[in-house]
Structure formats: structure tokens, C-alpha cells
């Protein structure tokens, strides 16, 4: 696969923004231009893409208040646009449970053929999922899972435990020959179940390496600001460690800033999620960030594929089954310098 040209930095120069100074910036030369509106790199659809009967897909998601959710929306929209036989009815994103229930009910009343729902809160939206299924509208539950399997026909989402496992294994392999290796974890928002799963996976993977000990864990809030302040404190608390796993690339922008401010470079860092800025830093290889484990927003494009297949009564291309699967868990691949080119176009901002 050809390496994508560094569009961002070139545009940065054209804009006359301080692209030169960008080099000094830890996260590479991300300026704020808008170039990555492209769809996911992987254009192969999950289901057979021969045109079929027309399908109207209703899509309801939370408010896109950070990069990953933006990428989810972009992925869903651009994939739907690709099909001549799909109409996407997309609702305004909302984090308010009542509002999201209302939006989904509207979509049910409009009699869309299939629903794709990324609930702001999976448990709270279970009832409306059940309602849609009872009304004969199959539901593709995206990422945050409903409480009852009766509330969806198919679930597709990321693997938080697997993210932890992948991060732990990568760090474990890098440090396996180092006696008394010390590892630090900068977790995400602690009141989310997914944060605990990421930590459990990480701990489970590290158990395979008796020479490695996790010496500290602090939870940030998935924001740049919290990433900076929690990381600054972790760095002060741990005068020596060998690896850091940071659950989220957005808060990683802050964490990298704190690392630069403290003048530390004596460890390797692994990020999480797959932000463009992280990919660029990994590619440039001029800082502590050496890899990131994916939580791919391309799942939204796949969800549209699955919804279309459901609407047209197809199976998934390449699989022997006549029907689409009941559940699909994405793999949290590790992206490092060797394969970053392949993933660059999926990076979100």
C-alpha cells in the first residue's frame, strides 16, 4: 500500500502558519486545516456491494464532542454515500438519553428499514432498541452495547479489553529483556466501564512478563487538559519508568505536552484509539510515542454495510453464512512505525 503523502504539513506551509515551528511540536506538524474529511482507507465493504433493493438506514449517535465520535459520523456518512441504493437518515447527535430515545422513536415512526444506533448510554437505550425490534426494524447496535440481546439484531464494536491486551503485549515484548522494568498507566475517565476493561486487559497481558511491574496508574478525563495535568504529576511521582500506556490519543496530546515540559525521554509510550496526530508522531519517530493501539472508527462504516445487508437480506461477503453475524468485535491492532502508513488515512482529529 503506498504511503499517503503528508498533506497536512504541506497545507500548513501554504497557509503560512508556523509550519517550521511545528517541527518542534511534540505531536508533529498538525495544523488545524481540514484535509482529513476522507473516508476510511479500507474501501472494501463488509457485505457484498452489488446494488440491490433500496434501503433507508436511520442513524442515531451521541453528540460528536471529540475526535473519535466525529470520525464515527464521517465514516457512516461517507460509506452511505458510496451506495446508490442507500438513504441515510441521520439525527442530531445527543448525549441526553431522553433526547436520543425521542430521535430513535421518530426514526421508527418514519419506518426506516434498518436502524444503526450508537447509544450515548447503552443500558438506558435498551428499551427503545427493543421497541424498534418489535416494530420489525432490525437494529445494528454500534459500539456501546445494549443490555439485552433482544434489543439488537447485530452488534459491532470495539474491544476495550483487547486494547489493553494489545498495549500490554506490545510493551511486554519491548521490555521482556529488561530486568525490573517499570510501567505506568495513564487511564481514561474512570467512571466509564470501558476504562476498567482497558486496564484489566493491560494487567492481564503484563502478567505474562514477570520482570515487568506496573508502578502507577492515574485516571485522566479523556481531555487534553486532564492529560497534561495528570501526566505532569505522574512524571513527578515516577522518577524512573520504562513504558507508559495512555488510553486515549486525544488526552495523549496533553500527556505528550507534559512529557516535553518535564524534559523526559527515558521511556517508550503507547497510545490508544488512533488519532491522526498520534500516527504522525509515530511516523516522525522523534519522541517517546512509539505506537498506538486502535479502537477503529471505521466500525461505523462497517455498521452501514451490515445495515444495508440486513435491509437487502444478504450475508457477509466471504463468509459461508446466509445471514450477517450476531456480533462482531473489532481487533485492536498495534500501529507502530512499521505499519503506520497503512493506517494514516483512518486517523481522526
Amino acid at each position: 500500500m503506498p504511503e499517503p503523502t503528508p498533506v497536512t504539513s504541506r497545507r500548513g506551509l501554504l497557509f503560512g502558519t508556523a509550519a517550521v515551528s511545528a517541527g518542534a511540536l511534540l505531536v508533529g506538524c498538525t495544523s488545524n486545516d481540514t484535509t482529513s474529511e476522507k473516508p476510511a482507507a479500507n474501501d472494501r465493504s463488509a457485505a457484498d456491494d452489488k446494488p440491490g433493493k433500496h434501503v433507508t438506514i436511520g442513524f442515531a449517535g451521541p453528540q460528536a464532542d471529540h475526535g473519535w465520535l466525529n470520525a464515527i459520523n464521517d465514516n457512516a456518512k461517507s460509506r452511505a454515500k458510496k451506495y446508490g441504493d442507500v438513504t441515510l437518515e441521520i439525527t442530531e447527535g445527543s448525549n441526553d438519553t431522553a433526547a436520543q430515545i425521542g430521535q430513535i422513536e421518530t426514526l421508527i415512526n418514519k419506518k426506516v428499514d434498518v436502524l444503526v444506533v450508537l447509544p450515548a448510554d447503552g443500558k438506558a437505550l435498551t428499551q427503545v432498541g427493543l421497541k424498534a425490534m418489535r416494530a420489525g426494524i432490525p437494529v445494528v447496535n454500534l459500539d456501546r452495547i445494549f443490555n439485552s440481546p433482544q434489543a439488537y439484531r447485530c452488534w459491532i464494536g470495539g474491544d476495550n479489553y483487547g486494547m489493553g491486551l494489545s498495549a500490554g503485549r506490545y510493551i511486554g515484548e519491548k521490555l521482556k529483556d529488561k530486568p525490573n522494568a517499570r510501567v505506568v498507566e495513564l487511564a481514561g475517565l474512570d467512571n466509564l466501564e470501558l476504562t476498567k476493561q482497558r486496564t484489566q486487559g493491560f494487567d492481564a497481558a503484563l502478567k505474562n512478563y514477570p520482570n515487568i511491574r506496573k508502578v502507577a496508574r492515574q485516571a485522566a478525563e479523556f481531555t487534553v487538559e486532564s492529560g497534561q495535568s495528570k501526566m505532569a504529576q505522574l512524571l513527578q511521582a515516577q522518577s524512573r519508568f520504562d513504558a507508559l500506556w495512555n488510553h486515549d490519543d486525544d488526552q495523549g496530546v496533553g500527556a505528550l505536552r507534559a512529557i516535553k515540559q518535564a524534559g523526559r525521554d527515558d521511556f517508550l509510550m503507547v497510545g490508544g484509539a488512533g488519532a491522526l496526530s498520534a500516527f504522525q508522531a509515530i511516523k516522525a519517530d522523534d519522541g517517546v510515542l512509539k505506537a498506538t493501539v486502535l479502537y477503529p472508527p471505521t466500525m461505523a462504516a462497517s455498521a452501514i454495510d451490515l445495515a444495508r445487508a440486513l435491509g437487502q437480506g444478504k450475508g457477509v461477503g466471504g463468509l459461508a453464512e446466509f445471514e450477517i453475524p450476531a456480533s462482531l468485535t473489532l481487533y485492536s491492532a498495534v500501529v507502530d512505525k512499521d505499519n503506520v502508513g497503512q493506517y494514516m488515512s483512518t486517523g481522526f482529529r
Binding site: F15, T17, A24, A219, E225, Q228, K230, Q261
Partner: protein, 339 residues
């Protein structure tokens, strides 16, 4: 360091319910007890930090770190202290910080470099403060409602501007200020700004007509009006001042985090109010202390630091923070009623 004479309590002379006889003496004593009790808490925290993590806590770098982390919220708290002293409240500070920081870090603004970012942050802060002030002083809205509305709309606007994305700062001169090379005699520039804002805030509140009017408006607005103070204009200026502080804080946050994000300044309103109240500023207005507020901020930041150094998790930190707010206010009420 702290002034032996208490800040004047209500320029109109009728604000103080207790002091009929010894007047300033008991007031001075009480103010001192308050400041001393806060210093005591801070000292106790330093001892705890020193015992649990002597190498990491009692370290110049840690002092720099604590003060740096305190700077952003500290500047906001100085502005908040004025507003609360006047009997008002500003719930929009966090949202204003967010809006100012994202507006100042858009591509368009970054093209103008350091000055562009600084100027935009200030203008946005003051602009939001102006809207708050006009709504409250001349529109007759209750501060709680007006600033709540500003909270919602400023956050919304911040989200709209960024589209939920993190805006990374590429202006070198801004980023430099957050790094070790630009420390002056070991003092980070952010901390210097915080110190300057604190000193100016203290002088304004305790040594100027503006400060006396603020206290008077908070003590009894009607009496202040009768005494010839233009209460509405005073209120307008106070929310402007709070907005300005938010603009400064946003700029500091941009330096610190190297980016603008719509989630910036999350829950600053609560932290600033908590710090001001712990410091001894009356939520009902009429009494305010910058020294106390700053000590309140330092206490919170030091707790966070000690907890992080000891690798305690954030749930424990929140519980402790709540307990300290309650304890500090209880202690103050006790000292206030016994002296």
C-alpha cells in the same frame, strides 16, 4: 506577608452585624484566624506530602508543578472572588475559558502568532463578560440564570468552532512559555502571571474605591445605591473583570496544554467557587478575600498533587476534596463565632 488589618467590611458602615464595640480589632483578629487556619491546612498538607513522598514532594520541580497547575484556575478564582464578593455568581467561567481557548487557537488566529492568540483570548473573555454584565446589570437577570445561559451557549459555540476536534497550537513563541527554558529564576512564566493577577486583584479589592464599592454592593445593594454608588455599572464592571480573568486563564491554558479544546475549563466554575468559599469569601456577598481564595486554590492543587504522588485514584481524590470543603467551612464558622 498577610496584612494585619482586615479588609474593610462594607464601605457603608452598616454591613457588619457583630462589631458594635471593638470594631476593627476583633475583625482583624478574625480575618487573621481565617487566613491562619488556611495556612495551617496548607502546612499540614505539606507535612503529609513530605512524610509520604519526601523525595518527590519536597522538590523544586514539584513546587513549580503545583504552582503551574494552580495558575490557570487561580486566575479564574481571583475574578470569581470579586463577583461573589458583590453578591453575584459566575457559572460561566469554565465555558468562557473553553470558548476563549478554542477561538484563540483556530487556524485563522494562529496565523497572527503570539499576539493573535493572546488578543483573541482576551477579547473573547471580555466579550463574554460584557454580555453577562449587561444581562445582569441592565437586563435585570439574576446572575445565576444569566451566567448559566452563558455557560450553555459558550460551550455550544466552542463545540461548534472546533467541531469537537482538538486544535493543536503550532506557534512556537506561545509553546515556549510553557517550557523549562523560559523559567525566570526558576519561576515558570505562568506562575508569574498568576502572582501578578493575585497582587493586582488584592490591591483592587483592598486598596481602591472600586474594591470598596464591590464590598458595599455585596453587603447591601440598596444601601450602596443610596450612598451614591452606581450599582449597575459596578456590576457590569465586575462581570467584565471575571471575563477578563477567564481570557487570561484561557491563554495560560493554551500555553500549558499546547492546544484548544472545547472540553477545556471543565468544572472550573465549581472549583473556583469552592476555592473562594474555603478562602472565606461569603457566598451571600459583602466579604471577600483574595488571599483566602488563592490559599484555597493552593490547598486543592496540593491535595491533588499529594494524591497523585501516592498513586491514589481519582475517586478517592474527589471524596477527599468534598470532605475538605466541608471541614474548612465548618472550621471557619466555628472560628467566626468564637472570636
Amino acid at each position: 506577608m498577610t496584612q494585619p488589618v482586615s479588609p474593610p467590611r462594607g464601605g457603608t458602615g452598616q454591613a457588619s452585624p457583630v462589631s458594635e464595640l471593638p470594631a476593627w480589632r476583633s475583625l482583624a483578629a478574625r480575618a487573621d484566624v481565617r487566613t491562619l487556619s488556611l495556612l495551617g491546612v496548607l502546612a499540614a498538607l505539606v507535612v503529609i506530602g513530605g512524610i509520604t513522598k519526601p523525595d518527590e514532594f519536597l522538590d523544586t520541580r514539584n513546587l513549580q508543578l503545583v504552582l503551574t497547575q494552580a495558575s490557570v484556575i487561580g486566575v479564574v478564582t481571583v475574578g470569581m472572588t470579586f463577583v461573589i464578593t458583590s453578591g453575584g455568581i459566575d457559572l460561566s467561567v469554565g465555558a468562557i475559558v473553553a470558548l476563549a481557548s478554542v477561538w484563540a487557537t483556530t487556524v485563522a488566529t494562529q496565523e497572527y502568532g503570539f499576539a493573535g492568540i493572546l488578543f483573541t483570548a482576551m477579547i473573547v473573555g471580555v466579550g463574554c463578560g460584557l454580555v453577562n454584565g449587561l444581562l445582569i446589570a441592565y437586563g435585570g437577570l439574576v446572575p445565576f440564570i444569566a451566567t448559566l445561559a452563558m455557560l450553555a451557549s459558550a460551550r455550544g459555540l466552542a463545540l461548534q468552532i472546533t467541531d469537537g476536534r482538538t486544535q493543536i497550537v503550532t506557534v512556537d513563541t506561545v509553546l515556549k512559555l510553557g517550557e523549562r527554558d523560559s523559567y525566570l529564576l526558576g519561576i515558570p512564566p505562568l506562575v508569574l502571571v498568576f502572582a501578578v493577577v493575585t497582587v493586582i486583584g488584592w490591591l483592587i479589592l483592598n486598596r481602591t474605591t472600586f474594591g470598596r464599592r464591590t464590598v458595599a454592593v455585596g453587603g447591601n445593594a440598596e444601601a450602596a445605591r443610596l450612598a451614591g454608588i452606581d450599582v449597575r455599572r459596578q456590576r457590569l464592571y465586575l462581570y467584565l473583570l471575571s471575563g477578563l480573568c477567564c481570557g487570561i486563564a484561557a491563554f495560560l491554558l493554551i500555553i500549558l496544554s499546547g492546544s484548544g479544546q472545547n472540553t477545556n475549563g471543565n468544572l472550573y466554575e465549581l472549583d473556583a467557587i469552592a476555592a473562594a468559599i474555603i478562602g472565606g469569601t461569603l457566598l451571600s456577598g459583602g466579604r471577600g478575600t483574595i488571599t483566602g481564595s488563592v490559599l484555597g486554590v493552593l490547598i486543592f492543587t496540593t491535595i491533588t498533587d499529594i494524591f497523585a504522588l501516592n498513586n491514589l485514584q481519582s475517586d478517592v481524590q474527589q471524596i477527599a476534596k468534598g470532605a475538605i470543603i466541608v471541614a474548612a467551612v465548618l472550621v471557619q464558622r466555628r472560628t467566626a463565632s468564637t472570636t
